[in-house]
Amino acid sequence: MTTRDDDNRLVPLIAVGAAPRTVFTVLAEEERLIVRSDWRSLLHLAARSEQPAVRHYFSGLAAGEELALARLAALTEALGLTGSPDDYRPRPDCQAYPHYFAWLALNAEPTEVAVAMTANFAAWGRYCAAIAKAMRAHYGFADAACGFFDLFAQPLPDDDAVAAVQAGIDDKTLNPARARRYAVLFQSYELQFWNSID
């Protein structure tokens, strides 16, 4: 069975204020681990990339993770999370995505990962936009606490992504069948993340 972006069960609940406020604690704790992992995965992909356009794409995204981590700190503060990320016991379903991403960073052709990541950005952006709006409307969070989701809610220009993918097509390192498989798995792991939080 093919999964679709709308198979996300949590975000529609948050959007109408029907999810318990505790979901934000789980989201923040899990994201503290995910962002750190993804940041390193992106840097590793940049280092492995032969083509300048691909290296530029991944290093740009890595810089975004650094910013995301700073914004996440405002959310953890608003939630009163004072412990170290290492004190938290993560949910395996939530960490499947960054673990798979780390596998891709180690093993996959970077241009194929660029396809898979970019294909999933639209959904991630929609989820973040819905959450940022609901955090203010239904859960009473101040702007600073919403900054992490605000950051990803802004659609990114896809010029760098297209350039990276094109580089892989032009030098024939990109296999579309593998890229498609990575994209579908990425989507499944992301839905696994959202649907394991209640």
Partner: protein, 47 residues
């Protein structure tokens, strides 16, 4: 890949569907659009 295709077409061997797709894809934006469409929500979903 070029060498593989050239060799296999020279000996008359048929490309696999995946290899044919590689040969057809030439535009990065089109590839992204195609895969994004596969992942996108269905318009006729009733949820």
């Amino acid at each position: 890949m070029d060498i593989l295709w050239t060799y296999r077409s020279r000996i008359g061997e048929q490309l696999t569907p995946g290899e044919e797709h590689i040969a057809m894809v030439s535009n990065g934006r089109e590839l992204l659009t195609e895969i994004q469409a596969e992942l996108a929500p269905r318009d006729d979903d009733t949820r």
